[in-house]
Symmetry: C2
Subunit: 453 residues, 2 copies
């Protein structure tokens, strides 16, 4: 049968359900560049405004997944698991959960991204370790996985080429913030990595992309549905992003903070990071078949965190990917930004609320992130939070320390901090860290709720 992009656009425009063949035709046309951009973008806008059925979404995700090369872990002898985050500020759970999964006898082939806008990037953080190579060939990645059980790398050019083209178009045509398109983009890449299980950290709150809780629940349920349909055990964990996760946000400072936790250190200012990492790792271990339930998985993870197994694996992985383990071990001493400036409380009270997106932009402006793809970032720029939501504040007390390589970089972030941090007159209860778990068992509740509206 002869398909035409025009007819597929028209059908979706009119709210009709597309056939599997029609969806595959669009995806193949995107990957092979046989459908021109003006037609793809009209189709994307029609999908944005008309939505997709669960079958359409599954077909779209699968077609995108197989639009290029896919990872194959046959013969590895371990089940493969991974986590994904919808993006936050100070979110460094990757450096904890990947070695925790490996320590439990699983393998984590993690394909990560770079900083963009107000959110940081796992690859940029890892590249602050001198020598660390994020661009491995699939053979090299396999080698690291065999040796360490975890490897964190950048996306290769041939993985999910349909998403590359569609995402670039979405970025130009205001068709990014749609749950179906977000789900297909994320899940096609994660499924192309050949995972047995996946835990997705869906951020909510002032620093998250999705501010509305119903939207976050719906996206989470879509991803669980799509993962499970494709044979990957999937869970979505809705976590709080109304303040930075842990103490630090930036590049090297986040590696160092992760190392401290891997060394077994505890600090009230990053108990949130530790807790969310253990919950994610617990689910990965459970869905990967190494624990009867998530609680048992969490207990295994905590043991491996406290006995140094995860630390050993992380150090091995860094070394296997060319990173300087000596720098890694020297911790705080290695952190030498040219400029530091303390931002202090202007009044006494309680740390009541944060505009976490603004805090993320402060990190970006300090030099740790980028506004546009391709811009360089600085390894030692970033900030340290000296307080958490709900804590008591004395006037003049340091709230944040900023780090930058250029003094001129400090002015704008200081203004952003002033706008972002709110001190109230009464104690407040910080939001719960884990708001909700959406798994195969309860996903339909959230899918049906969305369809009713």
């Amino acid at each position: 049968m002869n398909l035409h992009a025009f007819d597929v656009i028209r059908k979706k425009r009119d709210g009709e359900e597309l056939t599997d063949q029609e969806i595959r035709y669009i995806v193949e046309g995107a990957a092979r560049e046989t459908i021109p951009e003006e037609q793809l973008s009209a189709w994307l806008m029609a999908v944005f405004l008309r939505g997709l059925s669960l079958r359409e979404l599954g077909t779209l995700t699968t077609a995108m997944r197989f639009s290029g090369e896919v990872l194959d872990h046959k013969g590895l002898g371990r089940k493969t698991v991974d986590k994904h985050s919808t993006g936050g500020v100070g979110d460094k759970t990757s450096f904890l959960v990947a070695p925790l999964a490996a320590a439990a006898g699983l393998a984590d082939p993690m394909i990560s991204g770079r900083a963009l806008g107000h959110t940081g990037g796992t690859l940029d953080k890892l590249e602050s370790i001198p020598g660390y190579r994020t661009q491995l060939s699939l053979a090299e990645m396999r080698h690291v996985l065999e040796r360490c059980g975890a490897s964190i790398v950048g996306q290769t050019k041939n993985l999910v080429p349909a998403d590359r083209r569609l995402y670039s178009l979405r970025d130009r045509t205001a068709t990014v913030e749609n749950p179906f398109l977000i789900c297909a983009s994320i899940m096609s890449k994660k499924l192309a990595a050949g995972l047995d299980a996946l835990a997705i950290d869906v951020k909510t709150g002032s620093g998250a992309f999705l501010r509305n809780e119903d939207d976050a629940n719906f996206l989470a349920a879509l991803m669980v549905e799509t993962g499970e349909r494709a044979g990957t055990r999937t869970v979505a964990i809705l976590t709080d992003m109304s303040q930075p996760l842990g103490r630090f946000a930036g590049n090297w400072v986040e590696i160092e903070e992760s190392m401290a936790l891997l060394r077994g250190e505890r600090n009230p200012l990053n108990e949130d990071l530790r807790e969310i990492s253990l919950v994610l790792a617990g689910w990965m271990i459970h869905l990967g078949g190494k624990a009867a339930n998530a609680e048992e998985g969490r207990a295994i993870a905590e043991t491996n965190l406290m006995d140094g197994s995860a630390l050993r694996i992380f150090r091995e992985m860094v070394a296997a990917q060319g990173g300087d383990v000596h720098a890694l071990d020297s911790g705080e001493a290695f952190h030498r930004p040219k400029f530091r400036r303390i931002f202090r409380a202007e009044k006494s009270g309680w740390f009541a609320a944060a505009d976490c997106t603004k805090l993320g932009w402060a990190v970006q402006r300090l030099g740790a992130g980028r506004e546009r793809a391709g811009e360089p970032v600085e390894a030692h720029a970033g900030l340290e939070m000296h307080t958490k939501l709900g804590m008591k504040i004395e006037s003049g007390q340091p709230l944040v320390t900023m780090f930058a390589e250029d003094e001129a970089r400090l002015a704008e972030p200081q203004e952003l901090l002033r706008e972002a941090l709110m001190i109230g007159d009464a104690p407040v209860e910080p939001p719960p860290l884990v708001k909700r778990i959406i798994s195969a068992e309860n996903k339909n509740t959230f899918l049906n709720a969305a369809q009713r509206t």
Copy 2:
């Protein structure tokens, strides 16, 4: 203020109303090619699915109208009027109403289009007259208008360039059939022609683009609203297109049929064409200020049709544009298609219904039309209808005569005729010729009705 296409797309995507500045930015970006196609097409799909307010539509139409050169009739000494048709089969009213308007002391600067798909094109029909030039410069057109009061030409490259780019995109991205975009496209071109008054023939029925009557009413009301807002007196006349208009559909055959009417001949098989032409001309004459109301305008038109004034003007116009008036006068004798085939009734009864779009495709397949822009057409291809809806039919009676230059061209149209013409067992009442008139007085009823749904 710095505008970005991305932000304007997002705003319309979310159903918000755009500012005048934002709309002008998009139109200018389309005309000057400073906004890329993928962004324009995402914007078009967002408009298609979200709609426009009347203010947005007015601004869009005006911005498109002034995106290139516009006609200026200062010093002509006559008010300028025109008609537009949404496209039908056998629709040759242009050849009657233009000279009828001129005969009433008005001027009709008619800019017409070509055959596409199942509908014919005024320019193709005129070019079946040997020598007739449709591509005049604006100065040449002005000269013809001064001499004859009517000139029918093709669109120049510099007229409404924004529509040229947007229409080409709509054609590729399934964003054609939307009342707001159709209105802006039609009205920007008609307003760029500098008209004092405009009568729009909105076709309804099986041969029309808009089959649904509410859609046709809404489009008609939008066009009246947009014309009147821009200072052009505008009326929309909803007419029946459930069968070809008049006796002939094709190119030369339609010129010849118009000549017969201009010579004052009457025939029950084309009373519909004569009636609709007089109604349209009556409104043009009334809105152009030459008659107190449309009925009086129609009476003036009928007088000028029967006394030969309109015929004289049409012959002068053809001559002024290089056309062979001798051929024009030789009528039927000049019609020498290589092949003729009669399609006969397979049973007796009453001509009950026609799929007029299929009849239009039959005309196209015979060689009179084109499937894609740029294809050549044949001057003497086409068909003649020997019956009208509601007439009694005897088995074996000729229903249609087909004309073609190539015998192989006859087979497919014959099949289309078999599917398109339905003979019933009982007499039927043909639909009324003029279904409704939408003018400045009653337009709001149809605009409000649409907004309620």
